[in-house]
């Protein structure tokens, strides 16, 4: 694999299971053991019911595009050669919203990835250690 120049995630002890699962091509997030709310953060406290205690839950990997944009400026040198590139917020069917990229678009324009579009996970092994969870049209 050629050298990967884009930023890699700063993984914490609390988030390690999420990234380990991504490497196995699974979308795993913490779920409150009391109210079953699924979290896009890696702390033991629930912001929906305010109880403490989470369990890991494998999700369906389906959702829809909730917001989108397309960068024409490289804030990270590793993205310079990818300009312009898209970023989307995908709302998962289980509720949480995650930041991601939409892949496999013929031209890469925003028109091809409208808000509301159904998407499914696309796991991209960017290094031997890290897999990023991206999405493509469902």
């Amino acid at each position: 694999m050629s050298e990967y120049l884009k930023p890699l995630p700063n993984i914490t002890p609390h988030s390690k299971p999420f990234w380990d699962a991504a490497k196995e091509h699974r979308l795993l997030l913490p779920r409150c053991i009391h109210c079953k709310a699924v979290h896009m953060y890696f702390e033991p406290w629930c912001n929906a019911c305010s109880e403490v205690g989470v369990e890991w839950q494998t999700l369906s990997g389906y959702g829809h595009i909730w917001a989108n944009c397309r960068f024409h400026k490289a804030y990270f040198s590793g993205f310079q050669s990818s300009l312009p590139y898209n970023v989307a917020i995908v709302q998962l069917d289980e509720g949480p919203k995650m930041m991601t990229n939409i892949v496999n678009l013929p031209y890469g324009t925003l028109n091809e990835m409208p808000i509301g579009m159904r998407v499914k996970t696309f796991f991209e092994d960017v290094t031997n250690e890290i897999t990023l969870i991206k999405f493509e049209s469902a």
Partner: protein, 381 residues
């Protein structure tokens, strides 16, 4: 004597000061703050020694600040250098005066972002919860990108257009041309707007605020004393804030419900109704914010903020002159502070070419994420 005594009922701004704006590499943020406070003290006709409370924002070296101004405040505190903190900083000063704790409070802001090479996005940027884990690997970063996304949602939901964003950018640039201290001095047209480069599509560079150096200061005292100074006092008749940070960087409703509650509170507090407001100062980090804020505070119906800004409504001579100094888009990026000073100067009636005629009430609006509004008026009640 208990903890609370000497309570006051009214608060006024008696002095405002600004520095030059632009590229000022010979000054750090602290010295820009000192420069601004000296101007504010001159404006009020007081000596720096009369200041008994100091709240600084963004500038970090309060030690140097106090040594060089040689003051002995009875309260010193500092707030973080983020525009969202501006309203809360003014709230603290207002409460310190109302409680009777302090007589003469200086709120001082210094920003050397241009000279210091401040970046709003990229490695080390703190915008976005867990951004270094959940945003950066996807190339996501910067407040501008979040506003691009928010605007896309507004477009999808309400049909808002880039032409409407252009109208905002052009209106504020026109105002900047009437302001000798504004950084941007060149007129812009619709063609200029649409030919300007995308930063984060659908937003272009002319949708983004500036990054520049400068300082701003305001001196606040109680309304009973306020008449004794050099300039006509401008009263802070209402000030209200509510956080929407719990909803994340991009709330589902563009911050509408939070702003509605802040709006209700500030109008009740001030006794000044919306039709009595003659000019608005809107925190304009990006053009879409202006639309969300006009809707949130009820000046435009929800979803109709785009149509509201067309046909020069926000321009001097229009129905609701807004950001008459040019705002963050074209005057200077003083993170709300210069807009508050502009509000005071409008109420005083001292703005010559950009003066709104016969002004009694001006409202400052900060959409979010710490939604804030302040109503300034020429009379205490």
């Amino acid at each position: 004597m208990g903890l609370i005594s000497n309570r006051k009922d009214t608060v006024a701004v008696i002095g405002v000061g600004t520095t030059d704006f632009g590229n000022l590499p010979e000054h750090d943020a602290t010295s820009l703050g000192i420069w601004a406070l000296r101007n504010a003290a001159d404006d009020a006709g007081i000596s720096l020694k009369d200041i008994d409370g100091l709240i600084v924002q963004r500038l970090t070296d309060y030690q140097k600040f106090i040594q060089i101004t040689n003051i002995s405040p009875r309260l010193v505190t500092a707030t973080p250098g983020a525009g969202r903190m501006t309203g809360g900083t003014i709230q603290l000063a207002v409460q310190a005066v109302l409680s009777g704790l302090l007589d003469t409070v200086a709120v001082v802001y210094g920003n050397d972002g241009r000279s210091a090479g401040a970046k709003y996005g990229g490695k080390g940027d703190t915008y976005g919860t867990s951004a270094d884990q959940l945003w950066f690997p996807y190339g996501m970063t910067s407040p501008g990108a979040i506003h691009a996304m928010a605007f896309q949602r507004h477009v999808a939901k309400y049909g808002t257009t880039n032409e409407q964003l252009a109208a905002i950018s052009i209106a504020f640039r026109k105002h900047a041309l009437l302001n000798p201290n504004a950084v941007m001095k060149k007129p812009i047209t619709f063609d200029d707007y649409f030919q300007s480069k995308f930063i984060c599509e659908p937003l272009r560079i002319l949708d983004y605020c500036l990054i520049n150096d400068g300082g701003v200061a305001m001196i606040i005292t109680n309304g009973d004393r306020a008449k004794d100074f050099k300039k006509k006092p401008v009263y802070i008749k209402g000030i209200a804030q509510e956080s929407r940070l719990a909803q994340g960087e991009l709330p589902e409703d563009f911050g509408y419900s939070t702003m509605q509650r802040v709006s209700k509170q500030v109008h009740e507090m001030s006794g000044v109704a919306q039709p009595e407001i003659q000019s608005l100062m809107i925190y304009d980090n990006f053009t879409p914010t202006v639309i969300f804020t006009l809707e949130g505070f009820g000046y435009a119906p929800q979803g109709e903020g785009g149509a509201f800004v067309e046909n020069g409504r926000l321009e001097l001579g229009g129905a609701l002159p807004t950001n008459t100094n040019g705002g963050h888009l074209s005057e200077s990026y003083m993170q709300g502070w210069s807009l508050n000073v502009e509000a005071v100067r409008q109420v005083r009636g001292e703005l010559e070419h950009r003066q709104v005629p016969n002004v009694n009430h001006v409202q400052y609006l900060q959409g979010g994420p710490l939604s804030t509004s302040i109503i300034y008026g020429s009379e205490p009640v």
